[in-house]
């Protein structure tokens, strides 16, 4: 083995340690989510983001059927509250829990991913930084199990 390869083993090992060891800390402790609320533009920014998301969903043939017969104004309000609270903002989510609100909807894994893509496009359109995008997605991803297949 030459020096370059030996160096690369060390580098791969180091990156593993950094990735595995520090990711929970950076995503939950170091930020405490206080600046994510600001990075999303505060309550106004989050409400705008959810509005963009719902526009994207309405245009997405893959998932718009899930949103046909619902109260969109209420959905916008609850989703904004939820994201605001998750992002560490001064809001309290007053909606149903994720299992209850999705029971009977038959949300598939593909549907969930389509919604994530709608959110990514909305965040792009609002020029939300990649850091803030990733942090919000990391907070929402654990809901996958509560939402899919209900």
């Amino acid at each position: 083995m030459n020096k370059l390869q030996t160096g690369c083993i060390h580098l791969v090992g180091l990156i593993f340690i950094v990735a595995i060891g520090f990711s929970p800390i950076t995503s939950t402790v170091a930020h405490a989510n206080d600046s994510l609320y600001d990075a999303l533009g505060g309550t106004d920014g989050i409400e705008k983001l959810v509005e963009e998301l719902l526009f994207n969903v309405a245009e997405d043939r893959r998932i718009r059927h899930h949103f046909m017969d619902i109260d969109v104004v209420r959905l916008h309000e609850k989703l904004s509250e939820q994201i605001c609270e998750l992002a560490g903002g001064p809001c309290t989510y007053t909606g149903d829990d994720m299992v209850k609100s999705h029971t009977g909807m038959g949300v598939t894994r593909s549907d969930f991913n389509a919604l994530v893509e709608g959110l990514q496009l909305a965040m792009d359109d609002l020029n939300i930084s990649i850091s803030a995008q990733n942090r919000l997605l990391a907070l929402l991803a654990p809901m996958h199990d509560e939402i899919v297949g209900r």
């Binding site: 083995m1 030459n2 370059l4 390869q5 690369c8 083993i9 580098l11 791969v12 990156i15 593993f16 950094v18 990735a19 595995i20 520090f22 990711s23 950076t26 995503s27 598939t108 894994r109 593909s110 991913n113 389509a114 994530v116 893509e117 990514q120 990649i130 850091s131 803030a132 990733n134 942090r135 997605l137 990391a138 991803a141 654990p142 996958h144 199990d145």
Partner: protein, 280 residues
């Protein structure tokens, strides 16, 4: 020519049944790229990811062209895969390895299957875990036999674990993969299987790690331990430093710096790697 047949078959697979409704149920880049052996992964290492973008009941797959050029050798690969339900994939790769100094070439076919047994790359706390098998067949065996290879075809088995952290260090999305492979292959199998020094299966560890600068652009490293079965020449581990671009769910492009170490007595074989993948 077998390669031509594979290209034709791949083209048919790509454009006939799924031309209109390509699989797109998964998030960008979650099918990885196509390895030199045809399985989904990085370039050198098969990952736990299932090829293409199939989710739920979708069928799909990939076709890919790869070239690796190091100082004294060149590898050209044509590969295709079929995947179903983000659960399993089957793959085929035709490899042509040119020994530029000798004006000779080696040829190998690789048939692969991979099954996701547990976890989800993104959504579960545990990593996505897949098991896979590769059947490799030398279609020109004169040179491998000459240098001491014990057989011209063989099976390999591996288990791979892949995990993504959406907001890892620096608030970037990170991926890590570890693969453990049982193998008797000499130089990926291009020089046959088993040798005069060792003719039993070795367990070898392979690893990959990467970071997404943007959700369509990743950089990373791969490392692959290899056996050392032949007395005629030392065999080194292989590594690469890659950049992968996913402009859409239809196309992926990977470029890499390769260090394959010593191959058949020629030391310090470094060079570039290019892979173009189409998904359907």
């Amino acid at each position: 020519m077998k390669i031509k047949q594979i290209v034709m078959t791949s083209a048919l697979l790509a454009f006939l049944p799924w031309g209109a409704e390509a699989a797109e149920g998964r998030l960008l880049a979650t099918g990885g790229a196509t390895t030199t052996e045809g399985a989904a992964g990085g370039g050198l290492v098969p990952w736990a990811v299932i090829s293409g973008y199939t989710e739920d009941d979708e069928m799909g797959g990939t076709v890919a062209l790869t070239r690796a050029q190091v100082d004294d050798y060149r590898l050209d690969v044509t590969a295709a895969s079929f995947s179903y339900k983000n659960r399993f994939e089957i793959s085929i790769a035709a490899q042509q390895f040119t020994l530029e100094n000798l004006g000779a070439e080696l040829r190998q076919q690789v048939f692969g299957m991979k099954y996701r047994v547990a976890g989800d790359l993104i959504y579960t706390a545990m990593p996505q875990v897949s098991v896979g098998a590769l059947y490799k067949r030398n279609t020109r065996y004169d040179i491998p036999e000459l240098v001491g290879s014990q057989r011209e075809n063989d099976w390999e088995a591996y288990i791979a674990a892949s995990k993504v952290w959406l907001a890892g260090p620096l608030d970037r999305t990170w991926l890590a993969n570890v693969t453990v492979r049982a193998t008797r292959a000499n130089q990926f199998g291009l020089l046959g299987f088993g040798g005069d020094l060792n003719d039993s299966y070795d367990v070898r560890v392979e690893a990959a790690t990467g970071v997404f600068l943007h959700r369509s652009l990743a950089i990373g490293l791969e490392y692959r331990q290899k056996p050392n079965n032949l007395s005629f020449a030392r065999e080194d581990d292989a590594m690469s430093a890659f950049i992968a671009w996913f402009p859409s769910k239809r196309v992926a492009l990977v470029g890499a710096f390769l260090d394959l170490g010593s191959i058949a007595g020629a030391d310090n074989q470094t060079g570039y790697y290019l892979n173009l993948q189409a998904s359907f």
